[in-house]
């Protein structure tokens, strides 16, 4: 992340939120105001890497935060830019993700963006959804 911060230094800046999945554990990293949420198969939705700094990559001041979270099957990890999470908030994200099981999992990002759009599409919006299956 520091390397990426340096590589983009002097140009336009960007936020980042990402996750790597190794086994049944996810490492979630974030810099800027993009966010990661864990929607467990049972339980309440949780914001991850919430201590991330507001500094974006390319500012030379980004301090990415890494959270390691155990994942269970059917837990859903969603990565959202501020255009997507801003209008929804925690309840809206949870509704959009939990309402998707009737459809294919590939429709979860679309469901989130549709829900956010209904509340006004004032920014670009991106959603990525991951889950373990076996």
């Amino acid at each position: 992340m520091k390397r990426l911060d340096s590589a983009l230094l002097g140009g336009a800046q960007t936020t980042v939120v990402g996750a790597t999945l190794v086994g049944e554990q996810a490492a979630v990293f974030a810099a800027g105001d993009s966010r990661a949420y864990l929607v467990p198969s049972d339980g309440r939705v949780k914001l991850l890497a919430e201590r991330s700094s507001k500094s974006r990559l390319g500012s030379g001041e980004a301090h990415p935060v890494v959270d390691r979270v155990p994942l269970q099957r059917r837990d859903v990890l969603v990565l959202l830019s501020d255009g997507a999470w801003g209008p929804l908030g925690l309840p809206g994200i949870e509704r959009a993700v939990r309402g998707a099981p009737a459809r294919h999992f590939s429709e979860v990002p679309q469901a989130i963006l549709d829900a956010a759009s209904r509340r006004g599409c004032a920014d670009d919006m991106t959603a990525v959804a991951l889950r373990l299956i076996q």
């Binding site: 992340m1 520091k2 390397r3 990426l4 590589a7 983009l8 140009g11 336009a12 800046q13 960007t14 936020t15 980042v16 939120v17 990402g18 996750a19 790597t20 999945l21 190794v22 086994g23 049944e24 490492a27 990293f29 800027g32 105001d33 993009s34 974006r56 990559l57 390319g58 301090h63 990415p64 890494v66 990565l79 959202l80 830019s81 501020d82 255009g83 999992f105 590939s106 979860v108 990002p109 679309q110 963006l113 759009s117 599409c121 004032a122 920014d123 670009d124 919006m125 991106t126 959603a127 990525v128 959804a129 991951l130 889950r131 373990l132 299956i133 076996q134």
Partner: protein, 247 residues
């Protein structure tokens, strides 16, 4: 994997100073098939009072880790009031192997199929829970009890690190990952300042970027750089040997 057998002799575990025999790791593995067969036989006897079935309890398997091998040597040293040092330990007791002792079922009555002193344990392998893989022993030994070889008993040695690989593919998790991006109302798709990337091998990862100001391409550039560096790190072409997100 090459399989090499050596013909050597080992003794079964001896009683410790308290007279309690050191009993290997966990409960003995018993022959469930034989137990089921015995139950059927008993049921049949109850019905007609006769049976041609061979009597026996089936084989038993004990597993000894290197630690238990050392414990056994220390028990023997304590029994003889000897001071045990590391030099007293046989090198093979410190090896990274587990020892399996399979006590076979050796029926003493002839059954319909003429099964007298026939072993029910012919070979020992360790398999994963789904029975898709099998680890072969690196050597087989004869078990000596009371100065005589135990009929058809087996004591194969299996390298421990192979156990760690057993069933790894079984535990590999499959990941489902999808993403979508949408430009702000009134903007063209090419003016979208967000970007995302999804990597699928050798492990799954994904990232979302949100460029600022006129940076409609910065998200894509960051995603491209991250993907390239991860690929380099994983292939060993970069100074980093493993991807690190800790900064």
């Amino acid at each position: 994997m090459s399989t090499r057998y050596e013909s050597r002799q080992v003794s079964p575990p001896q009683p410790g100073p308290t007279g309690i025999q050191h009993s290997g790791s966990g409960p003995p593995r018993r022959d469930k098939g034989r137990g089921f067969f015995n139950a059927l036989t008993a049921a049949a006897n109850g019905m007609n009072g006769t049976s041609n079935a061979t009597q026996g309890e089936g084989f038993k398997v004990w597993i000894y880790t290197p630690e238990e091998g050392v414990c056994q040597v220390s028990f023997e040293a304590a029994r003889e009031y000897r001071v045990l040092s590391r030099d007293d330990l046989p090198t093979e007791d410190l090896a990274d192997v587990i020892r399996v002792v399979a006590y076979p079922d050796t029926p003493t009555e002839v059954g319909a199929a003429g099964m007298l002193q026939q072993s029910s344990a012919a070979h020992v392998v360790i398999r994963d829970a789904r029975k898709r893989e099998a680890i072969q022993p690196i050597e087989k030994r004869t078990v000596i009890k009371g100065g005589r070889p135990l009929p058809a008993a087996l004591s194969p040695r299996i390298v421990t690190h192979m156990l760690r690989q057993l069933g790894q593919s079984e535990h590999a998790m499959r990941v489902e990952c999808y993403g979508q991006t949408r430009p702000q109302e009134g903007r063209q798709v090419t003016q979208n300042q967000d970007g995302h990337v999804i990597g699928r091998a050798p492990f799954s990862w994904a990232a979302v970027f949100d460029g600022a100001g006129n940076a409609q391409t910065v998200a894509r550039r960051a995603a491209s750089l991250l993907e390239t560096w991860l690929a380099e790190a994983l292939s060993g072409r970069s100074c980093a040997t493993k991807p690190s997100f800790a900064g």
